[in-house]
Structure formats: C-alpha cells, structure tokens
C-alpha cells in the first residue's frame, strides 16, 4: 500500500487528476520499465513509506475500519495493482458509477430517503448523547437529514422542469443519494442498540462529512456558505 495524497476529480469518465506529476518522495521511489507505449513509470514504496502506512493503519484506519475490512481493502488494492492501465480505466471505473435513473424514479427515491431521515432525526433529537459513539450517531443522522433535505429542496428542486438535465454532471449527488439509501437500515438498527458500533459509525461519518471538500462539493462543512444550503 503506497500512501499518496492526490486531489482527484470525478466526472462521467471516471476519476482523474490533471496536475498529477509522479516524482520520487521520502515515501516512494519512481522507477522506469519498458512498456509497449514506451517507458512506463512505477512506484516503489521505501522504508519511510512503509512506516507511514503502518502508522495510518494503526492510528487512523483502525478507527473507521475493522481489521477484516482493512485486509479486504489491501487485497483489493493488490488486485488492482496487477491490472493494466486500460483495464483500470475501462472496467474498474464503471464499477464506481451509480445507475442513472429516469427523473420520476429519482424524485421518488429522494423523497423516500428524506422522509426516512426525517423520522430518524426526530428520534435522535429525543435521545441524550452521552458517549462518543452516541454523539457520532446523532451527528451522522443530523448531517444525512440535512443532506437529503438539500437534495430535495435545492439540488433537485427543478428537476422535473429543468429541460435537458445533465445527469452526468451530478455524480457526487448520485453517490451520496445511493449511500444515503444504503445507510438507512444500518442507522435504524443502531438506533435500537444500547452500545453502538463506533467503528462502523466513524466509517460512515468519515465518508459523508469528511471525504468531501468545498471545491468539489457545495454541501460541505468546509463551505463558508453552508448555512445557506441548510433547509
């Protein structure tokens, strides 16, 4: 596992970085290898990189993923590292896409999600959060509720009359909507347990709240004008 910090963008063709220049760092070395298109470049992790990776796994990843999940992630990265570039761009990127629905179905999904989160948020407001796991749970439900509200009342407000609606331009909306749907049964289950699963909740909190930055998506706690999007 080579930890690198790259600002990826996302569009309908997949993820990309226009300013990615690979150079050797303290954490990895660049090596060249002969390829059909000329000289290929690869990365070799060095000792300092291994130490950083170990530290990240023990201090950060372990807070959001269980050991089995970390192992599965490592296996997936290893499998992907064995694929050719065209296999990655053609096949793997397709897996990232969420089905693009017709408008009626999309509106119906947004409404259903919003109502589910409205119910969950009402329940959360009745409870006192006294542990870190409780606070994470409450914060996650609150964030998801306002995100679903943002979808319904702002982002997709005029979807029915918007003319040629650019579905492809809203990939993050689809990701978030899809994952909001996925998380609802998990949160409902957590609502009823005394001792909440902190690692599980941290993972979803990290995904919804921390994974996105202002320059990529407006509904972000890094956006100075977020309060204008709270409806």
């Amino acid at each position: 596992m080579i930890p690198i910090d790259v600002d990826f963008r996302l569009n309908k063709y997949g993820s990309f970085s226009t300013d990615l220049v690979l150079e050797s760092t303290d954490y990895y070395n660049i090596y060249e290898y002969p390829a059909s298109f000329g000289d290929g470049k690869g990365l070799h992790i060095v000792q300092k990189g291994r130490e950083l990776a170990k530290e990240v796994v023990t201090t950060k990843l372990s807070e959001i993923m269980k050991s089995q999940e970390i192992k599965e992630l490592e296996d997936e990265i290893n499998d992907m590292s064995k694929k050719r570039a065209d296999e990655l761009s053609n096949d793997e990127h397709k897996m990232l896409f969420v089905d693009i629905d017709d408008r009626t179905h999309l509106i119906s999904r947004i409404r259903t999600v919003h109502i589910d989160f409205l119910d969950l948020y009402e329940e959360v407001k009745k409870q006192e959060a006294s542990t870190i796991a409780d606070i994470t749970f409450s914060a996650l439900v609150e964030y998801c509720f306002y995100l679903s509200s943002f979808f319904m009342k702002k982002r997709f407000k005029n979807i029915e009359t918007a003319g040629d609606y650019d579905f492809d331009a809203y990939m993050f909306d689809y990701y978030f909507l899809y994952n909001l749907e996925q998380i609802i049964p998990i949160l409902k289950k957590q609502l009823g347990v005394d001792k909440k699963d902190e690692t599980l909740l941290n993972k979803f909190y990290q995904y919804f709240v921390q994974s996105i930055k202002e320059q990529k998506y407006p509904f972000s706690i890094d956006n100075k004008h977020l309060k204008d999007l709270i409806v």
């Binding site: 201090t59 914060a139 439900v141 306002y146």
Partner: protein
C-alpha cells in the same frame, strides 16, 4: 522562578487538553469570529511548554489514560463551547462532533512531546491518608488522582517534582501533598510563573 533540568515537570491530562487548539470548520468560523478555539489558560501553558522546550526539558504525563478519558474529552469540548456563549445555530450535533474530533486529534499531537510516568495501582495508603487528613470529605482525591500521586512519588528525580493541574482535588490539598510527598502542586492558571 527558573526551570531546572533535574526537576520533573508533570501535567494532568486535563491541562494537556487545555494545551490543545480546536479547529472550527469554515461553515461555522464566521459565527465564532475565529477558526480556532482555545482554553482560558492556553497562553500560559504554551509559554511554559516553550520555556521547557528551550531548555531541552521534557515534560511528563501519566499513563495509562484514565478510564474516563472519553467522558473527559466530551466534558472539555462542552466547556470550551459553553465559554464562547455562542450557539452554533445550525447542525449543532455535527458541530459538537467536529469539536470533539478536533480536540482528540490535537491531544494526540500534543502527547508526542511528553514522556510518561506510570500511575501507581497501589494507591490505597494514599487514599487512606487523604481520608484521614482532609477536613472536607469532598476534597478527598479520586482513585485516579491517588494513582498519579503514587506514580510521581515513586518516580526517580534528582530535583523537585512539580505537577500542573486545574483539578481542585490537587489544589485544595497542595499543602498536604507537599508535606507528605514533597510534590509541588502548580495550579494551571499559575503555571507560567514557573518560567
């Protein structure tokens, strides 16, 4: 006062919390007029830490962490927020979570400059001493406080031992602690007087 490298300067976890800076995310920073939250004694604690660092004196903290670490974390985050007298106005649960996460992250960073002293689990005689000598029963330190005193008492040191804390259990018993174990309790708000 002057700092000496043969003295031991140790800190209560609560004072280490007070050494932490909390980042306020952009969406709330305008409301708070800043993107940083700091405790009231932050400046004094930083001054002491800078002086210790300047003289290559490594400060100490106590391990293992209290079982109440998470509740102390929440308590400190709440106290910092209450002192601002500002209501986050929107998504207050998310804001609280962010403050706690930021405090936890900062705390872990601050810990890197500290060496550690093991708390002493054989604290019964210390507890008993306080129970017999404290005139006000509520002044009797809790078990974890007694483990800290036991740990610092057994710690080898050529000079004097100082313990910086904002906890009233220590401050109210500073004379007893000095007399019995020769440990100087330094109230957090006076810690800058050490340098």
């Amino acid at each position: 006062m002057t700092l000496y490298d043969n003295n031991t300067y140790s800190f209560d976890d609560c004072s280490i919390f007070n050494l932490c800076e909390i980042n306020i995310p952009n969406s709330w920073s305008e409301m708070f007029g800043t993107n940083r939250l700091r405790s009231y004694n932050y400046g004094k604690l930083v001054r002491l830490m800078a002086s210790l660092n300047q003289q290559n004196i490594i400060p100490y903290r106590f391990i293992p962490e209290s079982e109440k670490f998470n509740s102390n974390l929440i308590k400190h985050a709440n106290q910092l927020l209450i002192k601002t007298k500002i209501n986050p106005a929107f998504m207050d649960l998310v804001f609280k979570k962010e403050v706690i996460e930021s405090l936890k992250f900062s705390f872990k960073g601050v810990l890197k400059v500290f060496n550690t002293i093991q708390k002493n689990d054989n604290f019964q005689n210390i507890k008993q001493f306080f129970e017999q000598n404290c005139q006000v029963p509520t002044n009797v330190p809790n078990n974890d406080d007694c483990k800290i005193i036991g740990g610092l008492n057994s710690f080898n040191c050529l000079g004097n031992k100082f313990f910086i804390s904002a906890d009233n259990h220590f401050r109210n018993n500073c004379d007893l602690i000095k007399q019995e174990w020769n440990i100087t309790i330094v109230p957090e708000h006076e810690c800058h007087l050490l340098c």
